[in-house]
Each structure stands twice: as structure tokens, then as C-alpha cells.
């Protein structure tokens, strides 16, 4: 049984590509055959996050336009040999692939892979419609910020209109200190407002940036708190009951500082 999962958000820069890279890596490390499909044509990044930018020969558009079979365009990960990337074009634009073409491609990919993860572009235009077309599951990524949550709500509405019923939420870049001091929307607020099934709470973590610098997703780093959150999400995707992480509470002195507005 294979599953097509689209990672989407509405708003840009909330962590779709980071999430796609980490979940893909995590599922592959758990022994699944995984392919990541970048549909953010013109703004491709997934290759960089995986450290595969120098190995690309063909892209998604070459495949959908029939120039090469998809197997020729797949890039195998350097260390995790059951993880593959289908990169997109950096020169074409988002209208270069239509929903029917992606559905057809995913039908083929389903024969070879357990998980097909689709990294979606920002927005709700054609690129979004194409990215979600083949998905069995949609993961909506948001941040604890008013504009990101609003856009997530809009995306959830659009997914509903496209008859996508299996929708999961990941809240990324949580800052526990700010939540603690009441200066950030907390999970209860967000769950209450969006009311979809939450499968992940990912803290803001510098190691996301350092690992991106190296082209190695943070899920591979034991010390990364975001990496731990992503490992938990992978477990949940595999049907395990994993409790949500608790974040360390702020110390007494920094609380006192807040009180005095310091």
C-alpha cells in the first residue's frame, strides 16, 4: 500500500520544504521506499536541503512532457539508498505541469514506492491545484503567527473544495519561551481555531539552519529538538502512538525579566 502525501501551507516560508525533506528522510531511515517530488517549479530548493543539487540531470517537466521516463530523472540520496528525489525545473514556471500529468505520474510511482511526498509551492493557484491533485493525505504546515494560521485556514477550505478529507496539521517554529510568556499563539489556540488533526509541533531550532547549510536534514541529528519533533511525526505517520514533546519551561529569572518588561 502506497501513500501520496502533499505538504502544503498557503503562506510561503513556513517550512514546507524543510518538512518534506525531514519526513522523507525519516520515513526512508525507517526502511520505507520514499520518493520526494518537488513541485515548486522555478523556485526549487528540496535538492539543496538534501545535498543533491549537483546530481540533477533531468527534471519533473522532462518527465511529464515525455522526454525521459521518470526513473531517469530520479536522484538517489547519497547515504540513504531507499530515498529518491524527483527535482523540478528551475527555469520553467508553475503552469508547466497540470494536475492530470501529476496524477498520472503518481500512479506510476505508487508501483515502486511506499511513500510519495509532494512539496507544494506557496499560494492557491495552479501550482497548488497540481500539487494536491494526486494526494491521499494533505499535511498543512503553519506557524504560530496570525497570518500563517489565517492562510492555513484558507488552504484547509481549498482542500475541502477539492474533496481532500484526510488533512493533518503541523505547527512549525514554535518558540516555547514566547508561548510560556503568553506572547505566542499556543497549540490549544491553534487546534481550537483550525480544528484539524495535529500530528506535529516543531520547535524553532537553529540546527534547522545549520543542517540546511550542510544539506543534511536535522532529523539525522540526535541533538536537534526540531529533529526529535520530526522523528515523532514519522512515528505517527507509521501509525505509532507518540506523545507530544514537552518543551523546557522558562527559568525563574527570565520570567521575572518579563514581568518587569526587561
Amino acid at each position: 500500500m502506497s501513500e501520496v502525501i502533499v505538504i502544503t501551507s498557503g503562506k510561503g516560508g513556513v517550512g514546507k520544504t524543510t518538512t518534506t525533506a525531514n519526513l522523507g528522510m525519516g520515513l526512508a531511515m525507517r526502511g520505507k521506499n520514499v520518493v520526494l517530488v518537488d513541485t515548486d517549479t522555478g523556485l526549487r530548493n528540496l535538492d539543496l536541503l538534501l545535498g543533491l543539487e549537483n546530481r540533477i540531470m533531468y527534471d519533473l517537466i522532462d518527465v511529464t512532457q515525455g522526454r525521459v521516463p521518470y526513473k531517469k530523472a530520479l536522484v538517489r540520496h547519497k547515504k540513504v539508498e531507499n530515498l529518491f528525489l524527483l527535482p523540478t525545473s528551475q527555469v520553467k514556471d508553475k503552469s508547466a505541469v497540470n494536475p492530470e500529468e501529476l496524477v498520472k505520474l503518481c500512479e506510476e510511482l505508487r508501483k515502486e514506492f511506499d511513500y510519495i511526498l509532494i512539496d507544494c509551492p506557496a499560494g492557491i493557484e495552479q501550482g497548488f491545484q497540481t500539487a494536491i491533485a494526486a494526494a491521499d493525505v494533505a499535511i498543512v504546515v503553519t506557524m504560530p503567527e496570525i497570518s500563517a494560521v489565517r492562510d492555513a485556514d484558507k488552504i484547509i477550505g481549498e482542500l475541502g473544495r477539492a474533496d481532500k478529507e484526510n488533512i493533518k496539521l503541523i505547527v512549525n517554529r514554535i518558540r516555547p519561551q514566547m508561548v510560556e510568556s503568553g506572547d505566542m499563539l499556543d497549540m490549544d489556540d491553534i487546534n481550537d481555531i483550525l480544528s484539524i488533526d495535529c500530528i506535529g509541533q516543531v520547535p524553532d531550532d537553529k540546527m534547522v539552519i545549520t543542517s540546511t547549510n550542510r544539506g543534511e536534514p536535522c532529523i539525522t541529528m540526535d541533538k536537534s529538538t526540531a529533529g526529535q519533533a520530526y522523528r515523532n511525526i514519522v512515528g505517527r505517520l507509521l501509525g505509532e502512538k507518540v506523545p507530544f514533546m514537552t518543551f523546557p519551561k522558562e527559568g525563574f529569572f527570565s520570567r521575572l525579566k518579563h514581568v518587569f518588561g526587561m
Binding site: 503568553g182 499556543d186 489556540d189 481555531i193
Partner: protein, 89 residues
């Protein structure tokens, strides 16, 4: 105790709570925004139903979605031109 202290020092409402309250309102509006096309259908259907019971002038009928501070209401103004005993049959 922390809250009491915050009050004494005149600290503002935590911004997380402000964000939550603002979001709740803005989403009511977002979710209720209806395309002109849908409004047209709604208008036609209301006319159809009301017209079965009362004589009304379609030209004078006015329906809209009114946004209040924290709610959205469907407001219909439908002047009745003729009332009959027992309604229209």
C-alpha cells in the same frame, strides 16, 4: 501571583491572546465570504421560496452579508407588495 504583578505594573494583555481573538474574528469573515455568483443563486432561491407565500417585487429585494464586529449575518430586505388571507396558493 504573576498575573497580579503584571497588573500592578500595568502590563498589556499578552499578545498571544490578542492574536487569538483577532484571528477568530477574521476567520468568521474569511469563511463567510461568498462569491457574487453564489449570492446570485441564493437570491434567486430566496425569491423562489418567499414568492410561494407572498407577493414580492424582485426588483426591490435586497440581500447581503453584513459583517459585524464579531459575527456575520445574512440580511434580507424583501418588501411585500400584497398580503392575502391564508397566503398565496
Amino acid at each position: 501571583m504573576l498575573n497580579a504583578l503584571m497588573k500592578i505594573f500595568g502590563k498589556k494583555e499578552p499578545s498571544g491572546k490578542v492574536a487569538r481573538d483577532r484571528l477568530k474574528v477574521v476567520l468568521i469573515h474569511d469563511r463567510a465570504s461568498v462569491s457574487p455568483e453564489v449570492m446570485d443563486h441564493l437570491r434567486r432561491d430566496i425569491l423562489d421560496v418567499v414568492g410561494r407565500y407572498l407577493d414580492i417585487n424582485p426588483e426591490e429585494m435586497d440581500i447581503s452579508l453584513a459583517n459585524d464586529e464579531d459575527s456575520v449575518a445574512l440580511v434580507a430586505n424583501i418588501p411585500v407588495t400584497n398580503l392575502r388571507h391564508g397566503g398565496k396558493r
